[in-house]
Symmetry: C2
Subunit: 293 residues, 2 copies
């Protein structure tokens, strides 16, 4: 289980992420094939040279010749797809995914999976506010983070191959977390932020809001334009971790609120100084990360 120049990739689900994976892998010279529900997406990807072959159904031949299968599907679709189509996997194949939640996916997939193939989950932390293969763009991976979430069912070789995939795609940082650590982390840095943006965008209804907004409001609500089908599913699949993060954030916001109510200026400034220091550290680390490339 090692990626070399003869490795054949199969993308399952040709949306924004699946299409961007295909694009990046094709540029690296790999053979990339795809199966997805929409014939139109396959036709478009073939026209654009993003894939070498494809089918608008789970074609046993395409599935059977892939060395690496990337499942770029919604969580519940992913589970159904594996259940129905794993019989076609080539023995020794590496299966990976792009899902934004891990405990809800990794356990069930590894529990049902054939013993002669291996599933190593990964989360490419890149995206856009637009959908579909027509929005695919492998530049979204540059400067971005890629998290692999191995379990004790995985072999070192398969985990290494999954990490190598992240590098081939162009990610700037490759990390490992357990599925549980991942979900706690993602509940914080990704799901909580989307909850905040949605709440902020809907807590007031103001006529001609565009006349009064500055960069801060625009930045904090960019992700308030949200794919409700996907995110509601991701939230539910990570419910306990996300609830804990929402409560932790709410408590901290309430702390700041109480300091303001009590006119405790030094208390507010302490919190702002802590915030400034952490944000600066984040920037410094990001900078360092980029310099290492």
């Amino acid at each position: 289980m090692k990626i070399d120049k003869n490795t054949r990739f199969l993308i399952v689900g040709l949306g924004l992420l699946g299409g961007s994976y295909a694009m990046a892998l094709k540029k690296q010279g790999f053979r990339v094939e795809a199966v997805t529900r929409s014939r139109d997406s396959i036709d478009y990807a073939l026209e654009q040279g993003i894939i070498d072959a494809g089918a608008a159904f789970p074609d046993p031949e395409l599935i059977g010749r892939a060395d690496v299968v990337v499942l770029a599907l919604y969580p519940h679709v992913l589970l159904d797809w594996v259940r129905e189509n794993q019989r076609y996997f080539r023995p020794g194949a590496l299966i990976t995914d792009v899902t934004g939640v891990k405990t809800a996916v990794v356990g069930p997939v590894q529990a049902m999976l054939r013993q002669d193939v291996e599933f190593v989950a990964a989360h490419p932390m890149a995206g856009r506010e637009t959908l579909g293969v027509r929005s695919a763009d492998d530049r979204i991976f540059r400067g971005a983070n890629y998290i692999v979430t191995p379990t004790d069912k995985n072999t070192p070789a398969a985990v290494a191959a999954c990490e190598e995939l992240g590098r081939l795609l162009g990610f700037s940082s490759i990390s490992r977390l357990t599925p549980e650590q991942h979900d706690e982390m993602i509940g914080f840095v990704s799901q909580l932020t989307h909850c905040i943006a949605v709440a902020l965008m809907t807590c007031n209804d103001i006529q001609h809001l565009e006349r009064y907004t500055g960069d801060s409001f625009r930045d904090l609500t960019r992700i308030a334009k949200i794919n409700d089908e996907m995110w509601s599913e991701l939230f539910l699949d990570n419910r306990q971790a996300l609830l804990a993060q929402m409560d932790q954030f709410s408590a901290q916001l309430h702390r700041l609120r109480d300091l303001l109510e009590q006119q405790d200026r030094e208390g507010m400034r302490d919190m702002m100084r802590a915030s400034t220091a952490r944000r600066k550290a984040l920037e410094a680390q990001n900078q360092k990360g980029s310099d290492c490339l």
Copy 2:
């Protein structure tokens, strides 16, 4: 009280905003002078050709020859400055400001001001995370909003001149609100967003956070690097309005939290759809605004 090519401007406080005003007005061909506490800022601004003359103290001669005085000071400094130096204002002068809160400033200034000059408050909604005249850049006004907050003490001519100043600086949208409406609005679009960013940045302490963040976390915490001296003062000067906004946001976030806890997927999706529609409307209006320039 009309701005024409002979109008002389005086900037009081040569920081990021005062410096950017000076830069924009110089490019429009006006004579621009400045008084500020720091000799170094004056020297830098003279070297860079951002001002024509300046002094590191409230020079009576400079103050006395200005037709338009822009007070680019912190709120409490502004009140003291006007109290001590208004005797030098030229009769008929237009006084304006750049302060981010209005009720705490407009009433007190108009109550103490000489009858032969006029104060029309304005809020240029532009800024940066960096401080001082060395960060000045008049491009921050492009695409940005400028809000004038007249009261019944103001004359139509002075309000029109203050709006004309916004246009000369290069703002894309000029609006009018009462000081109270302004403070409610700013509590929402600007102060609440800063509170959220600070609470988000400080509610978890994570090692190597930079390996796990995506664009959403970076966008929502950009303003978590915050000038604690200025913002704590602005928060306190707008305490009631900001507390109301924090409570309204917290209630909405809690609504989303409860929907998640109850696994009410349709309820969550409804909120996300409302959020998406409002954010799209905001973008469409911004677009329209830009096209009008």
